[in-house]
Amino acid sequence: MALSDTDLGAIWLTMRLATLVTCLLLLIGTPIAWWLSRTRSWLKGPIGAVVALPLVLPPTVLGFYLLVAMGPHGWVGQLTQTLGLGLLPFSFWGLVVASVFYSMPFVVQPIQNAFEAIGERPLEVAATLRAGPWDRFVTVALPLAKPGFITASILGFAHTVGEFGVVLMIGGNIPDKTRVVSVQIFDHVEALEYPQAHALAGAMLLFSFLVLLGLYVFNPNRRSA
């Protein structure tokens, strides 16, 4: 059973989305994780809870609020319109923004755990060896937290690939723009195209397995993350 062009389009879109979201999340998530791992502020609890929300929130709830916020009357929507970016819902970039929120805890938490596991000592040692704060972060904290970053990337990527509810709420089902693999499978099943659904679902199953295999094979020190 070969994959159709729309299937391939959905796969290509999904990969682009997940790659972009993972990169963005590493950029945004690293400072958040660092702050959460080092701060003694009372804000640590509230911010940590907000980051973790997508773990327990039904994706439709998150999608609903994002839809409202990014819609023509929401404050994000008004901002994007003022900036001349148009409206985000039902666009690829709308999906990117929603996915960043949705996959945030899967990236922030492993990195935060890795930073916490390092402790203060290696950074103090680096300070006594003339390394300034930014230098210590780049040459000691980041390399020592590498297993956490690998875990974070893989989980963030895989979780974005697997999302469904948020996509439907924010992106709808527009071919090559917002129709990702999980939505495409849903369409196949709804249309009773079981062989097509099988092919795509099988591909997803294989993909997920390979991702996790990679995680365990190439990152044997996961316990330290």
Binding site: E124, A127, A131, P133, D135
Partner: protein, 355 residues
């Protein structure tokens, strides 16, 4: 000279020190665990913030009311209690980490000198994982020296090691003591390490300085008996005067006398340091004859004080000007009528040659 003044109050512990330390030689910061030794070192390194603290090293202000030099700008070397090597770097890259960050004009010594001093040349290309505890600590010391520090801080570098590993590192620390031109602060709770390595002693108790001064003078102070307890004793500097190969003995001359010890390997004229513990010194009012003890000295009683053990007294003696301490029972003191000024004979059961 190093001037340090720190005041810190935690809920369960307060540090309040005012110190003046010499700018050469090893100063032992000695005290029981919890006395604030490590905290003091962390204050000096700038790892512990101390509002109102003052610190200057050789005339340069590191910290006062206006300035606080952050740790990475202080020209110091720090060796932590556990070696704390960077696990993501090889031994060589660990050593280079600090050195690379010191401007080449400020480097006094290359990597080679510290590698040789600590004898770690064979380890350079290894990862840190395969190193033994002793090797790790030697690498950590070399890494601290490679930044050409103006002050070296050692926080119980031997505490996490077993006896065999300690014996492995002590000779290197002694070489540090002999070779380094910079002041070293050596935190320790082990009197034998202090006796071997220190020139000066700062005695801490509950965050306060109880005594500071030269090693010999401080160790012979009877009022510090509590701090040293069983390890009360004196350390004496001497010169090898003569080897007697037939009896396998060496004679060491010190100011005011000489002492016989087992044959040492060092050459005649070498400077040595030996230690006599108070519990190994007994007293007699008449010259002991027919005794197997080799080292018998005529001495004058200077001072008496109660020992930490009930029923025992500490007697400070002067052997030709050099202080000795004897620990005897209170009953013997009464029966022999030992008072300050008495003339006695001190029999020394055992002399520990430190180096």
């Amino acid at each position: 000279m190093i001037r340090a003044r720190f005041k810190l109050a935690f809920t369960s512990f307060a540090l309040d020190v005012d110190l003046e330390l010499p700018s050469r030689g090893v100063t032992a910061v000695f005290g029981h665990s919890g006395s604030g030794k490590t905290t003091l070192l962390r204050c000096i390194a700038g790892l512990q913030q101390t509002p109102g603290g003052e610190l200057s090293v050789n005339g340069v202000v590191w910290q006062d009311a206006q300035t606080f030099m952050p740790t990475h700008r202080r020209p110091l070397g720090y060796v932590f209690q556990e070696a704390s090597l960077f696990s993501h770097l090889s031994v060589r890259r660990n050593l280079e980490y600090g050195m690379k960050r010191v401007p080449s004009t400020l480097r006094r010594e290359g990597l080679q000198a510290s590698v040789e001093l600590l004898g770690i040349a064979p380890l350079l290309e290894r990862t840190t994982e395969g190193l033994s505890g002793g090797e790790r600590q030697r690498v950590a010391i070399a890494r601290a020296l490679a930044v050409s520090p103006e002050l070296l801080l050692l926080d119980e570098p031997l505490a996490s090691l077993d006896v065999a590993r300690k014996q492995e590192i002590l000779p290197y620390l002694e070489r540090l003591h002999d070779d380094l031109e910079i002041p070293v602060l050596y935190v320790s709770h082990a009197p034998d390490e202090v006796a071997r390595l220190a020139d000066h002693v700062v005695l801490l108790e509950n965050g306060r300085v109880v005594a500071q001064g030269g090693l010999h003078a401080t160790l012979s102070r009877l009022d510090l008996a509590d701090a040293f307890a069983e390890d009360m004793g004196v350390v004496i500097e001497a010169t090898i005067a003569e080897h007697d190969d037939s009896d396998h003995l060496t004679r060491l001359d010190f100011e005011g006398g000489s002492v016989h010890v087992s044959r040492c390997a060092e050459a005649r004229g070498s400077r040595m340091r030996f230690r006599i513990q108070a519990r190994d010194v007994s007293l007699a009012t008449r010259k002991p004859e027919h005794t197997s003890i080799l080292n018998v000295f005529q001495a004058r009683v200077v001072e008496l004080a109660d020992a930490t053990v009930p029923g025992q007294v500490l007697v400070k003696l002067s052997v030709g000007g050099t202080p000795f301490i004897a620990r005897i029972s209170g009953r013997s003191r009464k029966e022999l009528r030992i008072e300050p000024g008495s003339s006695v004979w001190a029999q020394v059961k055992s002399v520990a040659v430190l180096r």
